[in-house]
C-alpha cells in the first residue's frame, strides 16, 4: 500500500516538475512549485520523515511561495521567449543525469533494513537516544543534541540570510496615510476570518514549539508557523499595521538574541567543564541537562527563525507596497 502511494505521488511529482519547465507564466510556475513542495512533503510523510515533511510544507510551500509571489509582484509575470540555445544546458544535464544513473546501479535496495545506512551510527540513535537524551522523538535528539552544532550552523545560516536580505532590501516604515491603502481592504470576510484564525495559528505554533520533543515539530517549524501567522496578518491588514504589532528593530534584536541564546547554552556547558553544547554538564543529572539544553536551544531556534522569516517578509513586502504606490 505504502509503495503504491509512493509510486503515485512520485509520478505526480515528476509530472509537476516537467510541467514547470515548459510553463511561461511565472505565476503558474510558482503555484506549481507550491504544489511541488506539498507533494514532496507528502512523499516525506510516506517515507516516515514527518519532521522533514513538516518543515518542507511550512517552508517550501509556505514561506518560499509567499516570497516568490512578492518578488513576482515586482518583476512581472511573463517569462520572455528564450533566445539562446538550450542545447548546451541539455548536454550538461544529460551528462550529470547519466552520472547519477550510473551511480544508482550499485545503490543498495530501497528500504532494505540491511543497507549500510542502517548498520552504522544510526542504530545508536535509535536504540540509545531515548535513554541517553530522554526524548521519544529521535529526530529532535539527533538534531538538538548529537548534531547540535549542525543546528547551530543552520540557525546561523538563517541569520546570514537575514543579513543578506537586509543589505539588499531595506525595510522602510510607511506613513500613516499608506496604512489605509495597503492590505486586502475590500475583503471584509477575510478580515473577520483572519482575526479568528491568527490566534489559533499562534497557539498551534506554541504547541509545535514545546511538543517538538514528543511529536513532529520543534523550534524551526514553530518559528515558521508563528511567522506565517504574522505574515497572514500583514497580508490581510497591511504592512503598517503589522509594524505596529512587531517592529523591525525588535525583530532584529530577536534574531540576534535567538542565535546568542543557542550559543549561550554551549558556552554555559563550557563553563561547567564540558565541551561546547555538552548538555550533560548543564544540570546535575545528565538527562535533566539534556532536557533543559534542548528546550532552550529549540527556543533559540524558534525565536531566530520567527524573527528572520518575518523580517524577510517585511523586507519584500515593503518593496511591493512602495512600488505599488509609485
Amino acid at each position: 500500500m505504502a509503495e503504491l502511494i509512493n509510486l503515485v505521488l512520485l509520478a505526480m511529482l515528476a509530472l509537476t516538475a516537467l510541467r514547470i519547465i515548459f510553463l511561461k507564466d511565472l505565476f503558474a510556475v510558482i503555484m506549481l512549485f507550491g504544489i511541488f513542495s506539498f507533494l514532496s512533503a507528502l512523499i516525506f510523510i510516506n517515507l516516515d520523515a514527518v519532521d522533514v515533511a513538516f518543515t518542507e510544507a511550512s517552508v517550501g510551500a509556505g514561506i518560499s511561495t509567499v516570497l516568490m509571489l512578492g518578488t513576482l509582484a515586482l518583476t512581472g509575470r511573463k517569462e520572455k521567449a528564450n533566445s539562446h540555445s538550450s542545447f548546451l544546458p541539455l548536454v550538461v544535464v544529460c551528462i550529470t543525469g547519466a552520472a547519477l544513473i550510473y551511480g544508482t546501479l550499485d545503490m543498495p535496495d530501497f528500504g532494505d533494513p540491511d543497507n549500510p545506512v542502517h548498520q552504522h551510527v544510526a542504530p545508536r540513535y535509535i536504540e540509545e537516544s531515548p535513554k541517553e537524551v530522554g526524548l521519544p522523538n529521535m529526530v529532535t535528539s539527533v538534531l538538538a543534541s548529537y548534531r547540535g552544532f549542525d543546528t547551530l550552523g543552520e540557525v546561523v545560516v538563517v541569520f546570514a540570510a537575514l543579513i543578506a536580505v537586509l543589505s539588499l532590501l531595506s525595510i522602510r516604515k510607511e506613513t500613516e496615510q499608506d496604512a489605509s491603502e495597503s492590505g486586502l481592504k475590500s475583503h471584509h470576510v477575510l478580515h473577520v476570518v483572519a482575526k479568528l484564525v491568527i490566534p489559533l495559528i499562534i497557539l498551534f505554533a506554541l504547541y509545535v514549539q514545546f511538543h517538538g520533543d514528543f511529536g513532529p515539530g520543534g523550534g524551526f517549524q514553530a518559528g515558521v508557523i508563528a511567522a506565517a501567522a504574522l505574515i497572514l496578518y500583514a497580508l490581510v491588514f497591511g504592512l503598517p499595521n503589522a509594524f505596529a504589532v512587531i517592529g523591525a528593530k525588535f525583530l532584529y534584536c530577536m534574531a540576534s538574541a535567538g542565535v546568542l541564546l543557542y550559543a549561550s547554552v554551549g558556552l554555559f556547558s563550557m563553563y561547567k567543564g564540558g565541551n561546547f553544547l555538552d548538555y550533560n554538564k548543564i544540570a546535575a543529572e545528565p538527562l535533566a541537562g539534556q532536557h533543559y539544553g534542548i528546550i532552550i536551544i529549540e527556543l533559540g531556534v524558534g525565536i531566530t527563525v520567527f524573527a528572520v522569516m518575518l523580517s524577510i517578509f517585511y523586507a519584500f513586502s515593503s518593496q511591493t507596497a512602495r512600488s505599488n504606490i509609485k
Binding site: V117, H118, H120, G153, A164, S269
Partner: protein, 505 residues
C-alpha cells in the same frame, strides 16, 4: 580552560560576535569590536597551529558525543595552517575596511558589512576545522550566504548580477557536494570524515562511491573556481567592494582548495582517486589550461580588478596543479601557495582598493601617473605584483620553486616549463599596471585633482601584507615546516605515496 576548547574557538568567536555586531548598529565601536574579535580568532589560530605542529592532531567532540555519533572538530597541521592565513587576512582586511567602506558602502549598511564579514569568517573557519562531511556543507553555506551579501554591498549595479550569478553557481556547487555526501553516506552510514575513510575501503569499487566522489569534486571545483567552472569569479571579484575583494580573493577559494584536498586525501583513498580514476590527469590538464587561458584573459582586460580576478583563477590552477602531482612535495607546494597567494592577492586588492578610494576608478587608465601621487600604494602594488610573478625573495618565488621541484621530481619537465612560462604571462598583466603607474602621464582630469596617499589605516594592513610577502619569501621556515607537516600528514598511511617516493629517490 581555553586550552581545552582551542579547536572550537576560531569558529565560535566570530560566530558569536556576528549577532552582537548586528545589534551594535552603526558606530566606530562596531568596527573596533569586529576587528578585535577577528584578531582574537587570529590569535587562537596561531595557538592552534602551534598545538597542531607539536601534538599532531586535536580532536574536539562537540556536545561531548564521541565521533562518529557527534560532530567532531579535527585539527591537524593542514587546516590549522590554512586557518591561520584566513584569520590573519580577515583581521587585516577589517582594519583596512574602516576607511575603504566609508567610500564604497552606504553608511546604513556598515554594520551589515561587519556582520557578514564575521559570518563569512566563521563559515570559512568552520569549513576548515570540521571533521564531519555534512557539517562542512552547513558552514559552506554560512560562508557562501555571507559572501553573496558582501559582494552585493557595492554601489555599482553590476555587483548585483555578479552576486546573483555567484549565488546560482555557488548553490549548484553546494548541492552537488550535498549529493556527493549523500551517496557516500548511503554506502557507509557515516558522515565523519575519518570514519568515512575507513569504511569506504570496503566498498571501494562501488559505482555509487565513485559517482559521489565525482559530484563532490565537481561541486568543490565550482566553489574553488577551477577552470572552466570559474565564470562566477571574475565579475564577483570585480564589482564587489574593495575590502571584500581583498578578503574573498585571498581566502574563500583557498578554503575550497583545502576542502578538495581534504576530501581527496583524507576521505577517498589517494590511490583510488588518482590511480584508478585518473583524476590527477583531469585536474592537471584543467589546471594548466586555467593557468594559460586565465592569464591570457587577464592580459586583455582593462579593469584592474578583473585582471586580478582572472589572475586568481590562474593561481588556483597552480594550487590544483600541485595537488594533481600526487606527491608530498606537490601537495606541499599547494599548501604553500594557498598561504602565499593569500598574502599577495590580499595586498594587491588592497592596493587597488586604495586607488579606488582616491581616484574613484580601477580602470587601467586611472592608474596613470599614480607612482608619483600615491607612492606607498603603488610601491605595495609593485612588490606584491612581483610576488605574483614569482621574483626571488618574495613568497611567489617560494611557491613556484616547490611547484616546479615537485613537477621535476616526477620528471614532468613539460609541466615545469609550462608553470614557469605561465608566470611570464603574469609579468605582462602586472607589468601593464606598473607601467601605467610609473611611466604614463596622468590623464587631464587626474592631473588637476591633487591625489593624496590613502589614510594610514588603509596603508598599514597593506604594508603588513607586503612585508609579509618579503618576510615569508626569505624566512620560509614557518611555511615550509607547516606545509611539509601538513602534506606528510595527509599522505600518511597511504602506501601509494611511499611507493611513489621510493620510485623517485
Amino acid at each position: 580552560m581555553l586550552e581545552q576548547h582551542l579547536a572550537a574557538l576560531p569558529i565560535l568567536i566570530p560566530l558569536l560576535a556576528a549577532p552582537i555586531t548586528f545589534i551594535l548598529g552603526r558606530s566606530w565601536f562596531t568596527w573596533l569590536f569586529a576587528t578585535s574579535t577577528s584578531a582574537l580568532a587570529c590569535f587562537f589560530s596561531w595557538h592552534l597551529l602551534a598545538a597542531a605542529l607539536s601534538d599532531g592532531v586535536l580532536s574536539y567532540a562537540l556536545g561531548g558525543w564521541p565521533p562518529p555519533w557527534g560532530i567532531e572538530l579535527r585539527v591537524d597541521t593542514a587546516n590549522a595552517f590554512v586557518l591561520l592565513a584566513v584569520s590573519t587576512l580577515s583581521t587585516l582586511v577589517l582594519v583596512y575596511a574602516k576607511d575603504s567602506i566609508e567610500k564604497e558602502i552606504e553608511a546604513s549598511k556598515h554594520s551589515l558589512f561587519y556582520t557578514a564579514h564575521l559570518l563569512c569568517l566563521a563559515g570559512l573557519s568552520g569549513m576548515l576545522l570540521t571533521g564531519d562531511a555534512f557539517n562542512l556543507f552547513v558552514f559552506l553555506e554560512v560562508s557562501s550566504l555571507a559572501t553573496y551579501t558582501l559582494v552585493s554591498l557595492a554601489s555599482d549595479r553590476r555587483c548585483l548580477t555578479a552576486a546573483f550569478r555567484y549565488l546560482v553557481m555557488g548553490t549548484i556547487g553546494a548541492t552537488f557536494i550535498l549529493i556527493g555526501v549523500g551517496m557516500l553516506y548511503m554506502m557507509t552510514g557515516t558522515l565523519n570524515m575519518l570514519d568515512l575513510a575507513s569504511r569506504i575501503d570496503v566498498y571501494e569499487s562501488s559505482r555509487t562511491i565513485n559517482t559521489g566522489m565525482a559530484f563532490i569534486i565537481v561541486g568543490v571545483s565550482i566553489k574553488l573556481a577551477l577552470f572552466p567552472l570559474h565564470m562566477w569569479l571574475p565579475p564577483a571579484y570585480t564589482y564587489a567592494p574593495s575590502a571584500v575583494s581583498a578578503f574573498l580573493a585571498s581566502t574563500a577559494t583557498k578554503v575550497a582548495v583545502y576542502v578538495m584536498i581534504r576530501f581527496i586525501f583524507t576521505v577517498f583513498e589517494v590511490e583510488h582517486v588518482f590511480e584508478e580514476m585518473r583524476m590527477d590527469l583531469i585536474l592537471m590538464v584543467l589546471a594548466i589550461v586555467a593557468i594559460f587561458k586565465s592569464s591570457y584573459t587577464a592580459i586583455v582586460q582593462s579593469n584592474v580588478k578583473t585582471v586580478l580576478a582572472y589572475s586568481s583563477v590562474a593561481q588556483i590552477g597552480y594550487m590544483i596543479l600541485g595537488l594533481s602531482l600526487v606527491s608530498v612535495t606537490g601537495l606541499m607546494a599547494s599548501f604553500i601557495h594557498i598561504f602565499n597567494h593569500a598574502l599577495m592577492k590580499g595586498a594587491l586588492f588592497m592596493a587597488v582598493g586604495a586607488v579606488f578610494y582616491r581616484v574613484g576608478s580601477v580602470d587601467i587608465k586611472a592608474f596613470r601617473g599614480l607612482g608619483k601621487q600615491m607612492p606607498l600604494t603603488m610601491a605595495a602594488f609593485t612588490i606584491a605584483g612581483l610576488s605574483i610573478i614569482g621574483v626571488p625573495l618574495t613568497v611567489g618565488f617560494i611557491s613556484k620553486w616547490y611547484l616546479v621541484t615537485a613537477a621535476l621530481e616526477q620528471n614532468h619537465w613539460v609541466i615545469a616549463a609550462l608553470v614557469l612560462a605561465g608566470s611570464l604571462l603574469a609579468v605582462v598583466y602586472i607589468g601593464r599596471v606598473i607601467e601605467a603607474a610609473y611611466f604614463q602621464e596622468p590623464t587631464e582630469s587626474q592631473a588637476h585633482n591633487k591625489i593624496k596617499e590613502v589614510p594610514w589605516l588603509m596603508l598599514t594592513p597593506m604594508w603588513v601584507l607586503v612585508l609579509a610577502n618579503i618576510y615569508f619569501g626569505v624566512d620560509t621556515s614557518l611555511t615550509t615546516e607547516a606545509a611539509n607537516a601538513a602534506s606528510e600528514w595527509l599522505f600518511q598511511n597511504t602506501e601509494m605515496a611511499t611507493t611513489r617516493q621510493e620510485v623517485i629517490k
